[in-house]
Amino acid sequence: MVKFVTDIWDTFSTVFKGMGITARYMRKKPVTQQFPEERWALPDRFRGFVHNDVPRCTSCTLCAKACPVDCIYIEMEGKGKDRRMTRFAIDYNKCIWCSLCTEPCPTNCITMSHDYDHSVYLREKLVYEFVGDPVIPFKPKKAAREEEAEA
């Protein structure tokens, strides 16, 4: 009988203790954010969609080799002076935002951007093509020489 009464008392007292905490929080401001309307400031190191700055890309394929899921497609044609980059595509279906591709890049042209909301209805639309017409790959030494000549 005594145990029955103490059990009932314990139940009510501990439940009301918890309720007290909830009541205390009712007077405080909510910590949630209303996402699409309110957005939080992204930190500098935020890893969003991978972006490639094609005019500075040397098409060395180091990023494609570093990628653990092989989501970077680089195609080239011609040899020597006629070498052209015909395709630089990133398949965001596969990309896992690990930023391993940005580490070996010699010109730092491939970077993690701050974009993150690119929802699409079709998977094919997540394969981003960065190169339209074939482009001449960037040559850092030549560019440095030209810069020097200009100066």
């Binding site: 930190p43 935002w97 690990c98 391993l100």
Partner: protein
């Protein structure tokens, strides 16, 4: 599917044999989409009325061949796959893998000198992730039992930790922050301020959790004396982490086999004492996690006080990391238990074999032993107290 047991004869007050009550064994699937199995776990249960007579876990719904993938990826590339094992404590998985590679290198005669600053960063971030993982364990355990409120309180504090991680490494869940030979980036100033703020605020929140759930009479009635595991059974099944410590075994690799710089910090190993029931019941396992959060808070506090000025974060490592032919195993204390990586190298840039010893896999299989003779609702409470993560069990 059903088999009929011998009929039970029940005597009526008059003394003669009345109509026997026929009871049948029923086979049911709990999961793979059951809300209290913490993922895609399928338990094949044989029940007799409300009582469970046999539990068999069926695995493989989240199998991604992580160990096979390791054989085709370089040592650096595989770090991102360790993220996806225990996704609630990805930092610790990264850390264990990096420790395994570093120690394999060391045992084969390659010097790896991890900078002092990086070691402190590893400890701070790893312990923060331990708190985040235990917060989820605490919150979801409340949900399993039927308490909704603690979950939101737990997620609020976890959000603060994830914000710190976002500033440190740019991701909120899949960090790939630790690297072989150190960490990838330093802790920026604003993140350090947030860590200090978190240290100041967290003990008060812990008291709140204890008031909300730990002492709650309904919660105690549901968990005390339920799913009792004795120490010998736990050791037989290879259980580690809070499951083993809840049964009263003082085993923690941070103290017993100190790795990194854990020997420099002052902290205790909480064990289950059977405060409200028997040693090794669900409440003990739950309470060990709550006490561990406090111990992690103590370690972070000491590490933040003693952290050296910002310096190198990476050891000098070759760009194309090659491990000499040989093998090595290394284990570390994860939030779920003891995690280990066994690496065999044939001298190339990719491991020949990389086996993972995952704690939740071993902790899960004790359910076959402890599930027998329980009520179905107690089985839910027991699964919750084991704190399973299916990403790690199936790999």
């Amino acid at each position: 599917m059903t088999d009929v047991r011998p009929h039970q004869d029940i005597a009526t007050p008059a003394g003669d044999i009345a109509k026997p009550i026929k009871s049948e064994l029923l086979h049911i699937n709990m999961g793979p989409q059951h809300p209290s199995t913490h993922g895609v776990l399928r338990l094949f249960i044989t029940t007799d009325g409300e009582m469970v007579t046999k539990v068999v876990p069926y695995l493989g719904y989240l199998h991604r061949c992580a160990e096979k993938i390791a054989e085709g990826n370089t040592y650096h590339q595989y770090i991102i796959y360790t993220d996806r094992m225990d996704y609630l404590a990805a930092m610790n998985c990264n850390w264990t893998y990096c420790l395994a590679v570093e120690n394999t290198l060391r045992s084969l005669g390659v010097e790896v000198e991890i900078p002092e600053y990086a070691e402190y960063v590893r400890v701070i971030i790893g312990e923060l992730n331990r708190i985040a993982s235990h917060l989820i364990a605490f919150g979801t355990y409340g949900l399993d039992i039927g308490a909704m409120t603690p979950f939101f309180h737990a997620l609020r504090e976890r959000e603060a930790i994830l914000n710190i991680f976002e500033k440190v490494c740019g991701a909120r869940l899949m960090y790939s922050y630790y690297d072989v030979g150190g960490v990838k980036w330093d802790i920026p100033d604003d993140a350090m301020d947030e860590i200090k703020l978190f240290i100041d605020l967290f003990p008060a929140k812990l008291d709140e959790y204890n008031e909300l759930l730990t002492g709650n009479k309904i919660f105690v009635e549901r968990t005390a004396n339920v799913g009792v595991l004795d120490a010998a059974t736990c050791i037989d099944y290879g259980c580690t982490g809070p499951v083993l410590r809840g049964s009263g075994v003082k085993h923690d690799l941070r103290k017993d086999d100190p790795y990194s710089i854990y020997d420099r910090f002052d902290f205790d190993i909480p064990v289950g004492t059977g405060t409200v029931g028997t040693v090794g019941d669900c409440w003990d396992r739950y309470h060990v996690r709550m006490l561990e959060m406090y111990e992690s808070w103590r370690i972070i506090q000491q590490a933040v006080d003693r952290i050296p000025p910002r310096g190198e974060v990476m050891a000098k490592m070759p760009k194309n990391l090659k491990v000499p032919p040989g093998q090595g195993y290394y284990r570390a204390e994860n939030p779920k238990g003891e995690m280990g990586f066994y690496i065999i190298s044939d001298g190339g840039t990719v491991p020949f074999r990389c086996k993972t010893r995952s704690p939740a896999f071993h902790n899960l299989h004790i359910i076959e032993h402890v599930g027998k003779g329980q009520m179905i609702s107690d089985l839910c409470a027991t699964i919750g107290s084991l704190d399973l993560v299916l990403g790690e069990i199936d790999r």
